[in-house]
Symmetry: C2
Subunit: 337 residues, 2 copies
């Protein structure tokens, strides 16, 4: 099924959106007092504009400056603050290979609730340690993320803890939308947003805000050719069963599946979806570091790589991109040099 | 002349301080509306505490998150906002090899005044470009920083522009003091501050705040063995004439001289002054990047290297350190890998 030339907006998109602008506003009110950099800066870099060319103006939203070094702290705080006090008291459990676990652990530390994060065996030890440092319990089980989710479901069922899924959770998606709420206030003249898509919380949160506030603004998705399921599904117009293991170093977008809560809005709302190989993602990381002098993780490099790939068709536009995180694995720092 | 065992405070130190707490407060009121991350975060990292050991708690003040990527934007904004409108209209000139020039250029861009930055020939091209990107005029003259200062003095005299010295300027020092004003509010329980000393604006600004608000808090200076003049002078108890060229890669602390406005307060106010070689500074950078996942420049690495060196004598203390900037030259990124 070919994609329609233009993305849906208005009531047609609203039917696919899991959250509303009001949900995002409410999430922002809840999480704002718990963040020490809010709004995160939205900055221009002439060096970046020159690198991108095509008379494009790039605005960088610096989400890596948040606690835990990633936008996902918005998601974790939004989810935990949305729980009733009694539910929080029974504890929270989540599955993650990194930033979602850090976001939940941070929320638990700030709000005084017990958090357990299920990670697959062999998970990045630096991220495991950071989760432990925030006072959370680490539960290692399973060969990959999907098996860690099963472990989290079992723990939630046996202990009564609240399970917070990294994507299929309305409060998580509303939390991710808060960055777009801020960005529209900071840069009203934006023409387009380019967003790296892992589970899709960030892109779908953005679509929820834009559908109500700026429906003319186009949202472009960026994925990895090493984890192509979401990208391929979007171009096919239908959900696909993943057939290959993920291979990209950009773990923030290394998802194997589409997700019930984000798939319909991604399908209907994105203007385009590009997938890029690791060498283009690493080049995006290097350009981002050169222009901003801040340390990007792979998913942030993918965002800029997407801007570079889309620039010819967005000539003359003001493009927002998200510096979504800075948690580059120590072993990948060499990719910047 | 041997150093006294304890640093001066109260009226004895006040006589050496070029600015007062009220000057710093006034600077903060002027610059706060012009910054997009204020106060900058003050954060704890358990990984950092483990690396430092000796039961020390380290608080990191994230100044690299400011526009221009360095605390010196406080200095530039403070200096330019302190000028009368008529003086600003005649333009501003400064000499710099980097962050001071960027701070003045940023202030000029925000406040709509012409800025000229004199840099020595062969200066870091990335920093030159960033200064140009902010709309400032770049004037390349002289073999090193001291000759660039002479060029700036001549330009100021012939054009009527206001000269803003990177250190010998009360508004610059008051601007640098604003970070300590914020830090004391954020972390009232601090026992000590460890500050990398280039010209000394940051350490002397801190002493001005602390002498009025927390005289018991000790301030430690950190320098480079590749630019040892300030360190050696402090231990000698008298100003020294530099005899060797500077050799450190940490350009933020690569000063060849003591300065009229900061020397007396450094001499009287610091509790100790350590100097470290480039390999210890690079190790500090790597530890800081590992623990915080943010990109430090050399001077920020020197700050942590100082904490590591001083930790045995500060066992059990809560120590503030300044992540003073993130403008690591692209050629030095390899030092992180």
């Amino acid at each position: 099924m070919p994609r329609p030339a233009s993305a849906l907006r208005g009531d047609a998109l609203a039917a696919s959106l899991p959250v509303t602008l009001d949900d995002v506003r409410a999430a922002h009110e809840r999480i704002r007092p718990l963040l020490d950099v809010v709004p995160t800066p939205a900055r221009r870099y002439p060096t970046l504009d020159r690198l991108v060319g095509h008379d494009v103006r790039v605005v960088v939203k610096h989400e890596h400056m948040l606690p835990t070094g990633a936008f996902k702290v918005r998601n974790g705080l939004s989810a935990v603050t949305a729980l009733a006090a009694g539910d929080r008291a029974r504890g929270i459990v989540g599955a993650s290979t990194g930033n979602h676990g850090l976001g939940l652990a941070y929320a638990g530390a700030r709000l005084g609730c017990r958090v357990t994060i299920c990670v697959p065996r062999g998970n990045n030890p630096a991220k495991n340690q950071a989760i432990l440092d925030l006072g959370a319990t680490l539960h290692e089980e399973g060969a990959h993320y999907d098996e860690a989710i099963l472990a989290a479901q079992r723990l939630a069922a046996t202990t009564g803890a609240a399970l917070v899924h990294g994507v299929n959770d309305r409060a998580v998606i509303a939390g991710a939308g808060t960055l777009t709420l801020e960005l529209l206030e900071q840069v009203p003249e934006l023409d387009a947003l380019v967003i790296a898509v892992g589970g899709g919380s960030q892109a779908v949160g953005a679509l929820a805000v834009l559908n109500a506030r700026r429906p003319s603004l186009a949202v472009y998705g960026v994925g990895s050719t090493g984890a192509p399921t979401q990208h391929d599904a979007w171009h096919a117009g239908e959900r696909l069963t993943p057939t290959q293991p993920v291979t990209t170093f950009a773990e923030g977008i290394a998802t194997r599946a589409t997700y019930d809560l984000t798939w319909p809005a991604l399908r209907d709302g994105l203007a385009d979806f590009v997938a890029l190989p690791d060498d283009a993602i690493a080049e995006g990381m290097r350009h981002l570091a050169t222009a901003t002098r801040h340390l990007p993780e792979g998913a942030a490099g993918a965002g800029l790589a997407g801007v570079l790939a889309l620039a010819p068709q967005l000539a003359g536009a003001t493009i927002g991109m998200v510096f979504c995180g800075g948690n580059l694995a120590p072993a990948d720092v060499r990719r910047l040099a």
